[in-house]
Structure formats: C-alpha cells, structure tokens
C-alpha cells in the first residue's frame, strides 16, 4: 500500500498471539503462522516480543541462497522462497540476523512473512497489523506514527560487523522506560514489614 510503512513496538506487545493466529489463517500458508511471539524471560517478566520479517534492504537470506530462490520486489518486500528453486538447504534460516525464515520440512521449502502481499496489493493492511489489539504491530503512514507516538522509528541495526537497514521500522524508546520489566520481582514493589519478611 503506497504511503504506508510497517512499525514494530515490542513495548506495546501483550503476548496475546492474535497476530500469530490471524497469520495462520492465510490460505497461502494454510494454518502455519509466519510470526512468532515469545516471552523474553517468563520467570522474571511478562514482557513479550513479536518477530516478523524485517525486509532488509540487502537481505542476508537472499545473499546466502545458493539457488537464487529469494527475491526482493520493487516495493522492498522480500518474498518467501520460490518453490521450484528452493533446495531446502537452510542457509537462509541460519544466516538471517533476525532469525525469521522457517524451514517447512514437509514441503522442503523455506517460508517467511511476505508482508501479506495478497492483502497489500489490493489495498488492505497486513493481517497481523490489522488485528493487533495493542498496535505493537502497526501498518500506518509515517506522518501518523510521528503524530501519535512518543517513541521514534529506527531501521538500522548493527549485528557485530554487519550493519543492516530494513524496510520495517522498530520503535525506539523516547526516554527512559517508566518501569523496567526486563527482569522484575513483584516482591520488590511490595511493602513488607520487617517482622513479616522471611
């Protein structure tokens, strides 16, 4: 969709998996989701993070593909592997800095998020960003993100010596987080009289 960009803000994610379930409904991949939502560290936090394909400007998955099966369109969307070409070698699965491509062993085919080409090509938003009840996944015009959010979008990532620029934006905290939930303990927020503490 012209004038729309994809934004991920993990801080908004509530781990509900609406995106995962909705993605799985797509009849091109038949019940298999192309998104994952994971707890960062469930014993210590309720924080979750969704992962979709970031659609790199120079996609590592395509660079390492020996069969030239992964194509990037003019719209910047990196497609799933082409069925007749893919040799199921797993190079892309291992090389992707974001850990996105999935090997469908039964189909001998790598599949991944193609930003709902079937939807965006007919003027609909990608399914995950449409249903996401916290808009941790958002597909909106850049002006709207700038107007509505305090966080700022970024799309340059450093992995060791590799610098990756992506079509999908990650929202970066505007300031210090209000409450750090990376590793928390409810007991730290409680009032426990001295005699009651163990």
């Amino acid at each position: 969709m012209f004038g729309y960009e994809f934004y991920i803000d993990p801080e908004r994610c509530i781990g509900c998996q609406a995106c995962v379930n909705a993605c799985a409904e797509c009849d091109t991949h038949k019940g298999v989701p192309m998104i994952t939502v994971d707890f960062l560290d469930r014993p210590s936090s309720i924080a979750t993070v969704p992962a979709i394909c970031m659609h790199c400007d120079d996609p590592t998955c395509a660079e390492v593909c020996p069969a030239d099966a992964i194509k990037k369109g003019e719209d910047g969307v990196v497609q799933s592997a082409l069925k007749p070409r893919c040799i199921a070698c797993n190079n892309c699965v291992l090389a992707c800095p974001f850990g996105i491509p999935k090997m469908m062993a039964k189909l001998e085919l790598m599949m991944k998020c193609d930003m709902c080409y079937d939807r965006t090509s007919v003027g609909k938003r990608p399914m995950c960003a449409t249903v996401c009840p916290s808009q941790a996944l958002a597909y909106v015009p850049p002006e709207q993100i700038a107007r509505e959010r305090r966080e700022k979008p970024g799309n340059v990532f450093q992995f060791g010596h590799q610098m990756v620029t992506t079509k999908v934006y990650m929202m970066l905290p505007a300031g210090e987080p209000a409450l750090t939930v990376d590793a928390v303990d409810v007991a730290d927020f409680m009032w426990e009289p001295e005699e009651a503490a163990p």
Partner: protein, 758 residues
C-alpha cells in the same frame, strides 16, 4: 436422579471437547472456493463486542475478515475473535435434541423433546408450586433472547426464579453504580480513555480479558497520560505502567480508602463538584480518616509512598479515568469496592466530562444488554426494579397481563443452586450457562444437579453441566440468529444472522416460543422474527433508564451503534452519561456511600496460609464450552497451571513444571507449577476455564456479597504440597492433546509431549 449418564471417557468420545483446527473443507478448499458473502457483525465472546466480518459459503461460516470501519476496534481482534468462526461447523455441534436414556443420550424429534419438557415442568409446578421451577439465562445471548427468557419465566411459567450467569460478572459494579449514580452503565465511552491525564486500572487484567482496551490505554500514554496498575500479579499491561501497586488479594477497599484519605488530607478534592452535584460527602470523609497510608499499607501490602503517589496523581489530574473489573468485584465486599471507586471519582470531580470518569469493564458479550431487559431476578425491561409498582404496571401493559401476575424478585444464580441443593427448587431449565465449571464450590454444584427432578438445557455443545440433563435442546450460535447486544460502552449494536443453525438445531428463541405454546401461553409469544421481539422490548424499556425506545436495527447500522438511553427515533443516543453533573437519582445528585472494611469469607490461617486468586487467560472464554473446542486456542494455554513466586515455591520444594496439590477448605486439585516472579509471594493464581480435576472452582467458596450476591472467586485460602505424580485429569484431555510436561525454560509456553512427571 440427574446423574451423569456415562463415564467421562465415553462422554468425551461422543460429545467432545474435540479440537477443531481447520476451516470446513480444509485449507485447500478454503483457497480454491470463493467466499459468497462477508457479514458485518460482532464477536460472540467478551463485552468488547469487536466488529468482525464473517466469511460465509454454503450456509457455513468459513473464516473471518477484519472490519476496519467499526469505530470501537477498527479491525483489531484478539485470538478468540480470530478463531471463533471454527464453531459453526464444529464436529461437537448438537444437531438434534437429545433425550436421556438408561445408557446415555439418544436423539429425539423436537415434538418429543418439547412435549416432554413442557409436561415435566407442568407436573412439577402442579405438585410443588410455580417457584419449584427455576430458569437460568446467559449473558452471551442477544438482548432479544434475554428479554424473551425473562418474559418466558414470568409469563409462561409464572416462576419468580429467573437469573443468569451475569451474576458472576457485573452485578457488584451494577449495584454500586445504581447506588451512587442511579443507573447501571459505564458512564464514559471508551474513546474517553486516551483523553485522560491519568488512567488507574484496578483488578482488571485488561490485556487478557478485554484485549482491545489495551490500545486505548496505550493511546492514553501516547498522549502523555500516566498509567497506574493495581493487581496482585503483574499482568501484561503492567509493562507500561508508570506506577504498579501489588496489592494483596481482597484488600482493594483498604487501598481505595487510603487513596481517598490522602486526597482529602492534601485538599485535592473538587469542592465545587461535591457541593453542587453530590450528597453524603461528610460521612464518607469521616469513614476514611482512619485509613492513613501506613494503615492502608499494612492491610494491602502496597508501600505507603506508592499509595500517596497514586492518590496525588489522580487528585492533581484535571482528567482521570478509573477502570475496574472482576478483580475487585468478585469479592464478598465487591459492592463496597466499587463504591470506593465511585467515591473516589465523585470526590475528585471525575465524572460527566471527556476523559474523566469511572468505568466498569463489562466482561460477558452481552453482559450489559443482557441484564437490562429481564433475565435478572430483580429487574424488568428497561433496567426497571421489579419491586416498583409503576414499572410493573408499565411492563404488564406491554405484556398484556395484570401487574399482580408478574412474580416478585426471585433468587440469584448461586442462591438458586443452593435452593436446588436444599430440595426447594425441583426443576431447572438452563441456557448458555455452564455452572458446573463457572459457579464456586463445584462439588456442591454437582451434588445439586444430581438432586434435580428435571433438568433441561438449551445449548449448541454438550457442556459439562448439560451432561447431567434429562433433555438437551439443540440451540443456536450467536451468528445463527439476528439481534442486538449492548457492549461494555453501553453501545447497542446489531448482531447479524450469517447462517442457519445446522442440522435440526433451532434458533434459541424458537425453542422458548414453542415451549410457551405447549404451556398454553401462545398468545403472549406471537413473534415471527427477532425484529418483532425487539420492537416489543423497545416498548417495554420505554421510560426506563435503559431506554431503547428510539433504537432501530437500521439506526444501529447507520450510526455504527447507538448508546442508550435513546428515548426517541430522532435522539442520537447518549455516549457519555452525567454531563453537566446530572445524575439519574430523582434529585439529579450523585451519592457518596460509606464503605467499611471486612475480611474475606475464606480467610487465611495457620492451616490454610496462602491466598488463592482465580482469573482468565487470553485464549479462553468463561467456562470454555466454546473455546476449549478450538485447537489453536487450546494449544495456546492447554491446561491450568499454578502461578507461584519462586520464594513460595522454594518453601514447598517446587520447581517449574512440578506437580503441586492445592488444597482449600472445600477440595483439592493437582496442577503443574509455573514459577514466576510476577506474582506476590503470598498469593497463587489459577485460571478457571476447565472442568473436573482441572477446575479452579472446586477450590473456591460460596460466600456472596450481601447486596450483589456475587461469589468471592478472587479470594480463597489454600495450602500447597508437592504431588508425587500426575493427577487423573491428564487422562481426560481432549483427543490429540498431549500430556502436560515441564515448561520450556524461559518461554512460559508448554512443550507438547514433554517429560517432567507426565
């Protein structure tokens, strides 16, 4: 009499729950065949009532498409909404009426099943009196069905005992709002939440139980608002809280009274609002004098400085929104807890303005509309009191009977089950209610069901409760009959019929109309369509607080919903109540109501030293009759786990994934432990959506709030012991679902088929 007809394993094999994963015809057919129609309607599950489009082909719901134009959710959905379409063609659907036999159930014709039902109800009423029969309704039904069930009980059967499972949901808040404001509705539309400077969320696991509300809270923060969350657990919305108050279960009242104490001590009250628009302030001010922050901290376990900060943020804000749900309502002082909220809102002048108010988050699909028009034991249509002579006269005129023919108020849902247990109520006709899973003290509920002389159930799946029935009347899903519901906002919306009921199943309303005919009351139930029922309920509600007089199906479609009250057809509806400080009491003023602290009905002691609280998960809905049959939703959270803090776990020698037996004064169950630092170390949590040995409600108690009669699901006392091995219930899991095992480290999601004692 009405014992379970077959062993659990046989019932499971015949009636499920089986897990459905794929659309009818499978994914390949889904891809190849065109969708015939997209039907703009609403989700069948919670009180958010999200707009959704259902894909229809060959009289089957085969998928969904977001409905982005509907203003409340703008296409957003939770996983339940995404997967709800899998019910329409589910293999467990009841396609014929069932009659109980010596060896189980057999299918029956409608004539046979309805004649039998009418005969048994008549026999029992002739022998034991009208009130020996009780009616249970449900808050997922459309308003037309709810209205019909209330009228059926009072006109066709003449019993005073009609109540509904909304008794487990909104009654504490509803009672409190009626006392304080004179009306039972959330005063503000959800669009007010992002306008607040401070959003205070107490006892509401918004992210899992009302997921769409999350975005409203996040937009509040986007706009610079501050979020305060009070909960014994860090629920997902806590990740963006500016202040977290980890209160001990059952102590909400002390926290709220402590906050009002600080507001009054520091002179942060809105004196002009209090003087012009309220009565009773002085008594409430006196009642919170003893609740200084240190005292409140001792009761709640929340630090005094956090209580002060929360109070000051609310008191100093120009616009604050106070949101609450079952966490504080499911208590034996649920009404007082909500009154402490209304007191706080009134004292700070946070009502009747954009971005300023207190809001109950209605939980059930039609929790709001279902209680307004007649299936609540003490109400007549239009949110009228059944004790009010003028209300009785109005409704009697619409119904074509004499006012004295309308029975007086009957018992509430839990009290009805107790009257059955005592042998006073002999027969029960229930729809859309699975009390064996959802009522507290499940063993007591089972004993009561076994005592019934006649038990009839209208449902689309054979729920755990329906297994005890003498007759099961195959009813309809939400998408199989037209009607309206009122969402948590008080927005009346239009449920479209997408498909006919499958097989020989009937629309629910037809079941009651045909039963009324067999009871000789045909002339009071002449309806040929949902629209005719709606038009009558518009008349019946006219002049009441919940006035639907000016609402039509067409107007709802045109306006994307109509907020009640809407007295005339040229009235646009009322998104925000109390504008200009005008309340619904005859003098137009709101009431401060004094609240008093008291202990839970099941207090901790040396024998049962740990607090147990119960609640929900995002992928399951209520008693799970529907959602425990949808594969993807079950996989997301296949069985209940005991959430426990590592400190408490260590005291019991437990690590993540270990089997642990939870014992209360009622019963014990054994579950896998889930060791997390996101819960208070003196509290454990269990989600309640499951039956049998996985049922949290085997542990809960029947103490009721004296006014709302809501059970105290949120506070029980328990003790824990490490269990030697897996319990019996692992054998009762749906076919295809592997046994629970050790959780994947760090992920919090179960591995299917893992080891760990299974």
């Amino acid at each position: 009499m009405a014992e379970r007809p077959l062993p659990a394993a046989d019932l499971l094999r015949l009636y499920g729950p089986h897990l459905s994963y794929t659309p009818p015809g499978g994914w390949d057919e889904q891809r190849q065949l065109p969708v015939e129609r997209l039907v703009k309607t609403h989700c069948c599950f919670c009180g958010q009532q999200c707009g959704i489009q259902l894909k229809v082909r060959d009289n089957q719901v085969v998928g969904f498409e977001p409905w982005e134009e509907f203003p409340f959710n703008q296409g957003m959905l939770c996983p339940k909404g995404v997967k709800r379409y899998l019910q329409s063609t589910h293999p467990d659907r009841l396609l014929d009426p069932l009659l109980r036999t010596a060896g189980g159930f057999r299918t029956a014709t409608w004539d046979e099943a309805l004649d039998f039902t009418a005969r048994r109800l008549t026999e029992i009423q002739e022998k034991h009196g009208k009130d020996a029969v009780a009616i249970y309704g449900g808050a997922s039904l459309t308003t037309e069905k709810s209205y019909l069930i209330g009228k059926f009980a009072r006109v066709a059967l003449g019993t005073r005992h009609v109540d509904y499972n909304g008794r487990l949901c909104m009654v504490s808040a509803g009672t409190a709002y009626k006392l304080a404001f004179g009306v039972d509705r959330s005063p503000n539309p959800w669009s007010d939440i992002p306008r607040a400077e401070v959003a205070f969320v107490i006892g509401a696991n918004v992210a899992e139980c009302a997921p769409i509300t999350t975005q409203y809270l996040w937009r509040c923060r986007d706009n610079g608002g501050r979020l305060i969350v009070a909960d014994p657990r860090m629920t997902p919305i806590t990740r963006n809280a500016d202040l977290y108050l980890p209160l001990r279960p059952g102590t909400d009242l002390a926290l709220l009274m402590g906050m009002l104490h600080v507001i009054l001590r520091d002179g942060l009250e809105d004196e002009a609002f209090i003087a012009e628009h309220t009565v009773g302030f002085e008594d409430v001010a006196r009642s919170v004098q003893a609740y200084d922050p240190a005292t409140a901290a001792r009761v709640t376990g929340v630090p005094p400085e956090a209580i002060e900060k929360a109070a000051r943020w609310i008191g100093e804000a120009g616009r604050a929104i106070l949101l609450h749900a079952r966490g504080l309502e499911h208590q034996s002082k649920g009404v007082e807890n909500c009154l402490a909220i209304t007191n706080l809102a009134l004292a700070t002048g946070n009502l009747g303005r954009e971005g300023a108010g207190c809001m109950m988050i209605t939980g059930q699909g039609n929790g709001q509309g279902g209680r307004e028009h007649g299936q609540k034991c003490d109400q007549l249509p239009g949110q009228r009191s059944i004790a009010d002579p003028a209300a009785r006269e109005h409704v009697a005129r619409v119904w074509g009977i004499a006012p004295e023919e309308i029975p007086q108020a009957g018992l509430t849902a839990v009290e009805i089950m107790e009257a059955i247990h005592r042998g006073e109520i002999k027969a029960l006709l229930s729809i859309c209610f699975n009390p064996l899973v959802s009522l507290p003290d499940a063993n007591y509920t089972r004993e009561a069901l076994e005592k019934l002389e006649f038990f009839g159930v209208v449902d689309f799946f054979l729920s755990e409760t329906a297994q005890f029935a003498n007759v099961v009347l195959a009813g309809s899903l939400q998408e199989e009959e037209e009607g309206v519901v009122a969402s948590a906002e008080g927005r009346v919306i239009h449920i479209q019929k997408a498909v006919d009921p499958p097989g020989n199943a009937w629309p629910d309303s037809k079941v009651y109309i045909e039963l009324a005919r067999r009871l000789g009351k045909e002339r009071f139930f002449p309806y040929r369509s949902s629209r005719e029922i709606f038009d009558e309920l518009r008349q019946a509600s006219k002049g009441g607080h919940a006035d639907y007089g000016g609402i039509t199906y067409e107007k709802i479609d045109r306006q994307m919903g109509v907020f009640w009250p809407c007295p005339t057809e040229d009235h646009p509806g009322t998104p925000r109540l109390f504008e200009g400080g005008r309340f619904f009491h005859p003098d137009g003023k709101a009431r401060f109501v004094v609240t008093e602290w008291r202990e839970s009905g099941d207090p901790v002691d040396a024998e049962f030293p740990i607090l147990l609280t119960t609640g929900r998960v995002v992928s399951q809905y209520l008693s799970g009759t529907q959602t425990r049959r949808i594969g993807a939703l079950v996989d997301q959270f296949p069985w209940p786990r005991l959430e426990i803090h590592p400190r408490l776990a260590a005291q019991h020698g437990l690590t993540d994934g270990d089997w642990v037996t939870i014992r209360t004064r009622r019963d014990e169950i054994t579950l896998p432990a889930m060791v997390v630092r996101t819960i208070r170390p003196d509290t454990v949590f269990i989600a309640y959506h499951w039956p049998g040995g996985r049922s949290a409600n085997r542990l809960t108690h029947r103490t009721l709030d004296p006014r709302s009669k809501i059970p105290e699901f949120k506070v029980s006392a328990c003790r824990l012991t490490r269990a030697a091995g897996p319990p019996e219930w692992v054998k009762e899991l749906p076919p295809g679902l592997a046994l629970p095992g050790k959780d994947r480290p760090g992920k919090g999601l179960p591995i299917i088929g893992g080891g760990g004692g299974a």
